[in-house]
Subunit: 398 residues, 2 copies
């Protein structure tokens, strides 16, 4: 039963293939004129014209008058029903923004580097500019953005709406992020932690789909975890659940940026890894360490493998406490694969309750470093649906 | 509006007070003849006779023919509608059994000491005998017991139905506890961990009532935790969630009975505490340590206070990962109160993410050491309700 699928090589199959080429081009490039679509897809202007008419009639694309090179033109864009959602995810060194109509329907995304320890104002201004650019790129305007979720790589206190630690992300300390960002974007902004958001992204459309109890560990400049419990993102009573990076590994260990001693991050955070390599390798960036490890550099591999071993001890604690069925290891460092996962699993087996260790399996992420912005769009979608539901409830006769 | 409440001092108030005296006596003493009730309550035989007639008519008590001192007699017992539930909780040195009609309606309970490292057979036989005794005491027979929950102070693997570690409770290793116990009791038996059951007991009728995300920590010969997440007991994917006792505190620390090194239990388990006191205090039992600490003995207080400090580090990890709103510290050692809780809270504040530490509060337990058997009756009740539901579904027309 190939219902709905045209036979290969037929007229219908050719039209379907052209249709997908046009839609893909619009997804990647954003809004375009028909001439630009023809240039991008290699289809003839006549074919594009017919296809756009068909897509417009079926509601798959939208047409909007615009100006291109000083002339009036009609821009073709993917249909969004005038509801755009934005996801913003800050890393320690960058910000990534995506807009879409849902977590599975990202229309455009972009990444911009940021200086380490940037002030919150600078980060928020750049993120807001990216949102504006992307909205324009898909041929929409800012009032179409109905909800935004902004992720930070730090514990986020859902009660105060601020970063829940004085020392982590010092440039953002005491800043009322959501309300300032609402000033930039004129849309409701929800705050969350990027490890939580990445867990949600993998739950909605990645490696955690259909999982009852799972953990996403984000291993990048710092380390955090997002918990999926009972098939939903679990944030705890104040939004800070999953803070594996600040588990105490050694009470008398090095002082951590959070103010405690011997946190997991003091052993496997970027500062510890890069400092360990400085005497032999000079000043490297974390991305360079990952690239060299993949190229076989023994020092870089050793430092990452030791990080995996320490991570495994903390993950064993998490497994003892939460007893998940699946762990997904994501984030920049996860790209080195077994260099980290093999020692991590060895520590896990050594340190966790046997039956808990036996019931958990490790899966690779499916969304790479986009998991958090995808999750952010999912949170924005929930926020928008809740607001719509409220509006509907208020409008309903009593 | 004092609806239903008789005015104080009135005839009705006197009758109500007599009624409660009779019911309380039956709850505490189990099934009795009317002569015995009169002896226990101090009421006249005529008053008891009238009261029992009234209680029987309203369905609050049940009458059953029996033999007392070689004569035929009628035993009066609390009405249970022929549905009894049994809860069994093993400690490292004892077993406690309770029977009732629900977690709030315990009819009778009893504790029996057990030798340390007893074989499972011996423990199960004693527990079964206690169940038989208590059922008889309340004037019922074994077929009235519809479901049983048995708690062990060890990780319980819900998949295998066995203890989830080779080294913890070695006498119980590889034993199919539920099915063996079903042989003794002829009723379905569910297995769980006693820290989980205590958390459930405090959730159903104690300090965790109405809590969304809470943790019960059971500090006794070992240490375990039960997690309440989303208003329900959270067991994880294989039933072993909450195993705080085997969190690694020091990777190079002492070898633990679970086979790992430097687990929390190697610092605060009974062996560590008693060994620390042997040179100065000689051989003490854990109960003696608690009693002496309450009497002001400085050595006993110091050892328990150090245990509180170590416990706080692990609890900080739990708070970082799960972000609960309430922690209840229960179990034998919790009786010393601030001697343990003050250093525990100090460590928690020092080691947890500030916003997570700020959002959690400590509450004393309300059920003392009965929390686990009460929780066991709650699990038995769920088990029975599920079976009844299944029966009803099977009987229902399709």
């Amino acid at each position: 039963m190939n219902s709905g699928q045209p036979a290969p090589g037929s007229q219908a199959s050719l039209r379907e293939s052209n249709r997908l080429r046009v839609l893909d081009a619009l997804r990647v490039q954003g809004a375009m004129t028909q001439v630009e679509i023809a240039g991008q897809t290699g289809l003839s202007p006549a074919t594009v014209s017919n296809m756009v008419k068909e897509l417009d009639a079926s509601g798959a694309v939208e047409l909007a008058p615009s100006i291109r090179n000083g002339r009036r033109a009609v821009l073709v864009s993917l249909a969004t029903g005038n509801t755009l959602l934005a996801g913003i995810a800050f890393g320690d060194r960058d910000v990534r923004v995506a807009i879409g109509t849902g977590p599975r329907d990202v229309l455009a995304s972009q990444r911009m580097p940021l200086p380490a320890d940037h002030p919150a104002d600078e980060g928020m201004e750049r993120a807001a500019r990216l949102v504006h650019d992307l909205v324009e790129k898909v041929g929409k305007s800012m009032p179409d953005v109905k909800a935004v979720c902004l992720g930070l790589p730090a514990p986020v206190d859902s009660v105060s709406g601020q970063v829940g630690s004085e020392g982590i992300l010092p440039g953002w300390r005491g800043v009322a992020v959501a309300s300032e960002m609402e000033g930039h974007l004129r849309a409701p902004v929800v705050l969350d932690n990027t490890a939580n958001l990445a867990a949600l992204g993998e739950l909605k459309c990645g490696a955690l789909q259909g999982i009852e109890h799972g953990v996403y560990i984000k291993l990048s400049y710092g380390v955090g975890a997002g918990l999926i419990l009972g098939g939903e993102l679990f944030r705890g009573s104040a939004g800070t659940a999953g803070e594996i990076g600040h588990l105490t590994i050694d009470e008398n260990g090095p002082v951590c940026r959070c103010g405690n001693r011997g946190c997991l991050e003091t052993f496997i955070g970027s500062r510890a890894l890069l400092d360990a390599l400085t005497p032999t390798h000079g000043a490297l960036s974390l991305r360079e360490v990952v690239a060299r490890a993949l190229d076989g550099d023994p020092g870089c591999r050793r430092v990452l493998s030791d990080a995996g071993r320490h991570l495994g001890v903390a993950v064993a604690g998490l497994v003892n406490l939460v007893n998940p069925e699946v762990i997904v290891l994501g984030g920049l460092l996860s790209r080195v694969g077994e260099v980290i996962t093999a020692p991590m699993l060895a520590s896990l087996e050594r340190c966790a309750i046997p039956s808990a260790a036996a019931s958990v399996s490790l899966r690779p992420p499916q969304l790479d470093t986009d998991a958090d912005v995808v999750g952010a769009i999912a949170v924005a979608e929930e926020r928008h649906a809740a607001a719509e539901g409220l509006t509907a409830a208020l409008a309903a006769p009593t």
